[in-house]
């Protein structure tokens, strides 16, 4: 366990008072320290959005990228230096909307990333338009009569897409969330952690109360086996009346980086640039 204070920094979050993102920030710091990780061996990679500002408010290596584009940058970083503990932070628009294709394909690769999606079911930073996880009928400035698309179910898509760790947390239960993030980081492979995150300013439907009434812990479900794909699939599809939180699914599968032979000798960045005059001259002879 490292000292959580190491992750503190003198920057006041610009989130609205009461925003669910505060709890996620706290939980992440606790989880990192609980796992004896440090600012220097952690790398946060975020997109753009309210939630994606998280890395500004704690001390750690961080790369705030573009809206929707955290996953590929994080994959590049992880493969270039697999000694780093890489945590990806995105919003629901960011992660499932504009970044949806990266999401689909990162699952196939299974790099050892922990992906926290601050899912407030709305576009916060751009002032309240509906998002891919907004409930059908959600009214916003761009859907004045209610949106007419069904929401993305990230848990189901993750299971169908081959994620090896699928979890859901709730910003209203930071203790549980901390544990969940720890599990996600410990998991060797791509871990999706969708977090129910109330946006107190724009989402007047999916409030703390709304989530509280529905969220229940899988830990409390007797005999729930997260390694059983079929059970996971049933839980993944629950929404509305009851919303499961915790580890929905977990599976062992080789990580991407474990299968790249160039990484066998240690992190790539330690041996780059790589140049061997003899090798180059021998290759030259192929052209003769």
């Amino acid at each position: 366990m490292s000292d959580m204070k190491l992750f503190n920094i003198d920057e006041k979050p610009t989130w609205c008072p009461g925003c669910g993102d505060f709890a996620i920030l706290a939980a992440l710091k606790l989880a990192l320290s609980g796992l004896d990780l440090y600012p220097h061996n952690t790398m946060l990679v975020s997109g753009i959005g309210c939630g994606s500002k998280l890395p500004y408010y704690m001390k750690a290596n961080a790369f705030d990228t573009l809206h929707g584009r955290a996953l590929p940058v994080a994959t590049g970083i992880k493969l270039a230096n697999h000694d780093l503990n890489v945590v990806v932070i995105s919003g629901d628009g960011d992660g499932y909307g504009i970044g949806g294709n990266h999401f689909m394909h990162v699952m196939r690769r299974n790099p050892d990333l922990t992906h926290i999606v601050e899912n407030n079911q709305v576009y916060g930073l751009t002032k309240g338009q509906y998002s891919p996880t907004s409930d059908k009928g959600y009214i916003s400035t761009t859907s004045p009569d209610g949106s007419i698309e069904i929401m993305v179910n990230p848990m189901a898509v993750a299971l169908a897409g081959g994620a090896t760790f699928v979890g859901r947390g709730f910003a209203g239960d930071p203790k549980h969330l901390t544990q969940l993030i720890m599990k996600g980081i410990r998991h060797k492979g791509y871990a999706l952690i969708d977090v129910l995150q109330p946006c107190v300013t724009y989402n007047k439907i999916n409030t703390y109360e709304w989530y509280k009434q529905r969220a229940y812990k899988l830990d409390d479900e007797e005999g729930y086996d997260a390694t059983d794909y079929e059970s996971a699939w049933r839980k993944a599809r629950e929404w509305d009346e009851r919303i499961p939180i915790g580890v929905i699914y977990q599976e062992d599968r080789l990580t991407y980086e474990a299968q790249v032979e160039e990484l066998a000798d240690g992190p790539l960045n330690r041996t780059s640039p790589h140049r061997d005059r003899e090798v180059l001259d021998s290759i030259k002879l192929e052209f003769v």
């Binding site: 600012p39 705030d64 584009r69 590049g76 640039p273 180059l280 001259d281 052209f287 003769v288």
Partner: protein, 587 residues
């Protein structure tokens, strides 16, 4: 009366018939014979059928482009004969399978020799497989022009893994030998174009994409993430084929957005990283390139241009992304654009790009094009000098530097030359934040006026620094010429050839070639063009993009232009002809 060591071979057929690979083997044989070779292919956007060809020009001097006339045509189908008849010079030969359905008089009436050899029959008889007909055709050609058989034999052996005992190699050699002998015996005496090996030479045969990839490898590049797109894919494929030797991670991604972003992630971590694509893919990378710029991540992007706009002419050549690359992405930031025009320059761009990228922590583009990507040239081996390859990583802090650091590390520190010392994330003293938002020195987002201006100025200052490293355009020919031909990138070859032709005519002509075009070398441009008597801008595009850039940066107008946007490269003869005729297209 024989013409020695100056001729063009052309092999053509449907896609999938192998004109390309057979032609390449033949070119190798010629290069090994000590001859200079320039070979380019022409293919359609399809996998089978249609009409593709491979053309090889041979000479005793170093050559940089193809010429219009053909001395030996090797058609694998009838269409190849009819399509290229007009290009055949008097006295030339068409090497045909005996049953080829064309009236010989169509050839003889133009002074072309129909050389009918039972190619398929020989292939089947000697090799047991009619697909060896390509080999037979080339061997006839070799016999016809007196190329010693050993060169053909050696290439065949190489192709089949150099195992002398290989049955398939032996079968091919048998086919070749039979065909060679028939060509030499029956038709050689009557054929005036001949090849004579030049001993004690050390040539290598390489195309533009291989040269760029090799240059990158020589620079120690250890990462390429990409998405397939013609004509850039072969950069990656070459690196993938050598990944074990080079220790390079090759990652095909779900799209070009991912490809460039993964490279940015890898580069940020301290790995020399690149991506390679063509226009459509580059379009998708535009947003991410802005990210690299503001986060000061070294990034190398190869853009192999093809006929645009949009999907356009996907297997044809064009030079129409220059202004796009200079101006792409929202906002303003420094970048470097390299525009190599020969395989040597491709190799150099391949490694120099990484030095620019890391020294200035900026995106660097290597612009090449379809023609250059695929065209092969025989050059002296010492033109690719591994010893001359420099590696300059710029201001990159070592672990020891970081150990000794007493102040907090500032990723975007304001410095006199605009370059902030870089560190690889992972060191306890080097914990760093960077972001696509405008930022303070420590990477925190900023909205205040003062720091914004300071960071903007800092980044743009790097362009002034980089300008000092840019190689000015190459001036070839007499300083005080009557005519100056201006070009960039792949037009180097044909303009070079045109200059030689026109000089031979007695014209005093020189050639200003831009191989590193941004930051724009204004001083040298003004020096040369400001005093030039007559200038012609030559480009493979519609609008004359380099001329527009020149005017934008120097005010110098080049009203005379020769522009070509039909997807095909120039030849020296074309250009010389256009210059002579004064057929100048003004846009």
């Amino acid at each position: 009366m024989a013409v020695i060591n100056d001729m063009t071979f052309k092999m053509g057929g449907e896609a999938g018939q192998g004109a390309d690979s057979s032609g390449h083997g033949f070119a190798k044989a010629l290069a090994r014979a000590g001859l200079y070779v320039y070979g380019n292919q022409d293919y359609m956007s399809r996998i089978r059928g249609g009409h593709n060809f491979f053309q090889i020009r041979v000479n005793e001097r170093d050559i940089q482009a193809s010429t219009p006339g053909i001395q030996v045509l090797m058609p694998l189908d009838l269409m190849t004969v009819t399509e290229h008849l007009d290009e055949m010079v008097p006295g030339s030969a068409v090497i045909m399978d005996a049953p080829m359905k064309i009236d010989d008089s169509r050839l003889t009436s133009r002074g072309i020799k129909p050389i009918r050899v039972p190619l398929t029959e020989i292939a089947q008889r000697e090799g047991g497989n009619k697909i060896m007909m390509n080999t037979a055709s080339l061997a006839v050609a070799a016999g016809l022009v007196d190329l010693p058989f050993e060169f053909i034999e050696q290439v065949i052996l190489d192709n089949f893994g150099n195992r002398k005992g290989s049955a398939i190699a032996q079968a091919n050699i048998a086919v070749a030998k039979a065909a060679y002998d028939e060509g030499a015996r029956e038709f050689g005496p009557d054929f005036e174009f001949k090849l004579k090996p030049i001993p004690n030479t050390h040539r290598m045969l390489i195309n533009g994409n291989q040269a760029i990839a090799f240059g990158a490898a020589a620079a120690g590049c250890r990462w390429i993430s990409m998405y397939p797109m013609t004509p850039a894919t072969t950069v990656t494929e070459w690196l993938a084929a050598h990944h074990k030797k080079l220790g390079i991670v090759v990652k095909e991604c779900e799209d070009e957005i991912t490809a460039v972003l993964m490279a940015i992630g890898a580069a940020h971590s301290g790995v020399r990283a690149m991506t390679a694509t063509s226009g459509g893919g580059l379009s998708l990378m535009v947003e991410a390139i802005g990210l690299a710029a503001i986060t000061e991540t070294p990034l190398v992007v190869v853009d192999a241009m093809r006929g645009g706009p949009s999907t356009g002419l996907p297997t044809r050549t064009e030079q129409s992304d220059l202004q796009f690359v200079i101006n792409l992405s929202q906002g303003e930031f420094p970048r470097v654009v390299l525009t190599p025009g020969t395989v040597e320059e491709c190799f150099q761009a391949g490694w120099r790009a990484f030095n620019f990228a890391e020294k200035y922590q900026i995106p660097v583009f290597i612009l090449t094009d379809m023609n250059q990507s695929n065209a092969i040239r025989a050059i002296d081996q010492d033109r690719f000098d591994m010893g001359a390859v420099e590696i300059n990583r710029g201001d990159l802090l070592t672990d020891a530097d970081l150990d000794a650091l007493t102040e907090p590390y500032l990723r975007h520190k304001l410095t006199a030359n605009g370059i902030s010392p870089r560190a690889m994330p992972g060191h306890p003293n080097g914990v760093m934040l960077t972001t696509s938002d405008e930022h303070f020195e420590n990477g925190q987002a900023v909205e205040e006026v003062e720091m914004r201006i300071l960071q903007m100025d800092k980044r743009m200052r790097k362009l002034d620094e980089a300008a000092k490293d840019i190689r000015p355009p190459l001036l070839e020919g007499p300083e005080d010429a009557d005519l100056t031909l201006v070009g960039w990138g792949t037009t180097y070859g044909p303009i070079h050839e045109a200059r030689l032709i026109l000089s031979a005519d007695g014209l005093k002509v020189n050639h200003l070639h831009y191989h590193e075009v941004w930051p724009f070398p204004s001083a040298r441009t003004e020096e040369v063009l400001g005093n030039a008597r007559r200038v012609i801008d030559i480009e493979n595009n519609y609008t004359g993009q380099l001329a527009l850039v020149i005017r934008m940066m120097t005010g110098i107008d080049i009203p005379h232009k020769i522009l070509k946007y039909d997807g095909r490269p120039f030849t020296g003869e074309d250009l010389a002809e256009k210059v002579r005729e004064g057929v100048l297209i003004n846009v």
